[in-house]
């Protein structure tokens, strides 16, 4: 009974609370790599607080979709936060959904963002929306295939079961098809979270922006919710990758000490991947939009190879 209350609260607090920190951490590392001091680690929190205090300006031509979108994206990220094993391999909403629901909850948030970008009739919004949909139409098959490979190897589509199976049989993790699937998933995560080789999260340059183009019309608390949801998306995608590729140390039950150790290791693993993203972003330039299919095609091929080598060899 206690676990039914404690675990959801814990997961939501961890995901909501930590997600701006991950963004701040990546920004800080990048600033350090460029020999700048950089903004404080907590700058994303200050931004969110400031935005939440401000008034929202809504275009006169906007329909209800525009005002509903921030809540839909935020809540879809919250639902995913309850479906992903974060600190414990148990999952609060285990009974109702699996990894396919996770993929399509991400898609739901993205769908509403694209709709709202068209809603106000701004040229940049439509451009951003169409680009986002193009990128996601290429990223989604690769993500589905790579996650299905992981599911096939573990024998379940439930993330909690996958984590448990991989934890119990570490030798499964040395499967070559899994390493291909993780490589494909890593590329997809960069595309989905809008990080640098695909999209630049820092600028509002009209020729290149994808995600920033879509949210150009939002302000005040709406913008805060969308920004928060996008940083939660990054953290959730990293959590899925971390808990399937490096599941060691995650708590199985709900003992206090187990959760503390699991939390420490979780911070370390997420920090490691965030560090890798920061290094990647400082060493690569953003790809031209017409080169993005090339990158995502590579990811798709890796995912196809993963699933083929799973079927052929095992």
């Amino acid at each position: 009974m206690v676990s039914n209350i404690v675990l959801p609260i814990l997961q939501i607090v961890v995901i909501i609370g930590l997600s701006p920190l991950v963004k701040g951490f990546i920004n800080k590392i990048e600033a350090r790599l460029q020999c700048r001091r950089g903004a404080s680690l907590f700058q994303p929190y200050y931004n969110l607080i400031k935005l939440l205090r401000k008034d929202a300006v809504v275009s006169e031509t906007a329909s209800w979709i525009f005002t509903a979108t921030p809540y839909v994206t935020f809540v879809s990220a919250l639902i995913i936060a309850l479906l992903v094993p974060v600190l414990s391999s148990q999952v609060p909403l285990n009974f109702t959904g699996d990894v396919i629901l996770i993929i399509y909850s991400f898609a739901l948030g993205r769908f509403f963002l694209a709709l709202s970008s068209l809603d106000t009739g701004s040229a940049f919004g439509g451009m951003g929306g169409s680009r986002e949909m193009t990128v996601s139409s290429m990223a989604e098959p690769a993500m589905m295939l790579s996650i299905l490979t992981i599911s096939l190897t573990a024998g379940s589509t439930n993330l909690s079961d996958i984590t448990n199976t991989l934890l119990n049989n570490s030798i499964l993790l040395m499967n070559p098809s899994l390493s291909l699937a993780f490589a494909a998933l890593a590329i997809v995560i960069i595309a989905e979270a809008g990080r640098i080789p695909v999209d630049n999260p820092f600028t509002h340059l009209e020729l290149t922006m994808i995600h920033e183009g879509m949210i150009l019309e939002f302000s005040g608390r709406y913008l805060a919710l969308i920004e928060w949801a996008s940083s939660m998306k990054l953290l959730l995608l990293l959590t899925i990758l971390v808990n399937t590729s490096l599941p060691w140390g995650i708590a199985r039950g709900l003992t206090f000490s187990g959760l503390v150790i699991s939390f420490g290791l979780y911070l370390a693993k997420i920090g490691f991947f965030a560090f890798l993203i920061a290094i990647l972003e400082s060493s690569f330039a953003k790809l031209r939009l017409f080169r993005v299919p090339n990158l995502l095609g590579t990811s798709f091929i890796l995912a196809i190879l993963a699933i083929i080598s799973f079927y052929v060899v095992s």
């Binding site: 070559p176 090339n294 083929i308």
Partner: protein, 221 residues
């Protein structure tokens, strides 16, 4: 006893799959220097794999080929290729007869063919190194494919060395390498052919002001 064998073969399998990924970079990227780095990385993985195979099987002559491959393929040949690239001042990106996305898809098809063609062999083999034969076959075919589709002479050299890597790995993983004298001959062949092709690239560049091999069919002055 069973567990370490599985772990050993899994390690080699993962190295094989990483080699395949770095071969895909050869057809998937447009930067020449990235291709050369990918070649150096693949040769390094190949060296590690052959060192591990030597260690697991206890055959000492594989250590010699490992050492030669480290010197030749990881250090000397990539260095030579970088030298040629800098000397001929190739700044342009790689040009291909077909688009990158199409060549990625075709190389995916090639890998499928490689898995399908070796299926009847690998399904009777025991657990040791099941990925290696299809992967080495795929690397050879992708190298061949890169040689056909790329315009520049230097990328064709990269395709050639990819084919050689694939053949070397196939021999290594199926029969613990060829006899030492054959291996030495092969290494010498590759070394000489890359040097000769390097000189050719330089000469083509001098006479045509480009290393696009499509110009070689123009016979008029």
């Amino acid at each position: 006893m069973e567990q370490p064998i599985i772990v050993n073969s899994r390690v080699i399998d993962i190295l094989a799959v990483l080699m395949l990924m770095s071969t895909i970079i050869l057809v998937g990227t447009s930067r020449l220097k990235t291709c050369i780095w990918a070649y150096a990385f693949r040769s390094f993985l190949l060296t590690v794999a052959s060192g591990l195979i030597a260690y697991f099987s206890g055959l000492h002559h594989i250590y010699i080929t490992t050492g030669i491959s480290l010197l030749l393929k990881v250090i000397f040949l990539p260095g030579l290729l970088f030298y040629i690239v800098n000397k001929t001042n190739i700044k342009k990106e790689i040009e291909s007869f077909i688009s990158y996305t199409l060549s990625l898809l075709l190389s995916c098809g090639i890998i499928l063919i490689a898995y399908y063609a070796t299926l009847s062999i690998i399904q009777f083999e025991n657990t040791f190194m099941r990925h290696c034969l299809p992967v080495s076959f795929a690397i050879t075919l992708i190298g061949f494919f890169a040689m056909i589709t790329r315009k520049k002479a230097i990328t064709q050299v990269l395709g050639l060395v990819a084919m050689e890597d694939g053949l070397f790995f196939a021999a290594l993983s199926t029969s613990y390498g060829m006899p030492l004298i054959v291996e030495l001959g092969l290494f010498f062949d590759v070394l000489v052919s890359v040097i000769i092709m390097g000189i050719y690239v330089y000469r083509i560049k001098e006479s045509f002001d480009t290393i696009d091999t499509a110009f070689l069919s123009e016979l008029r002055e």
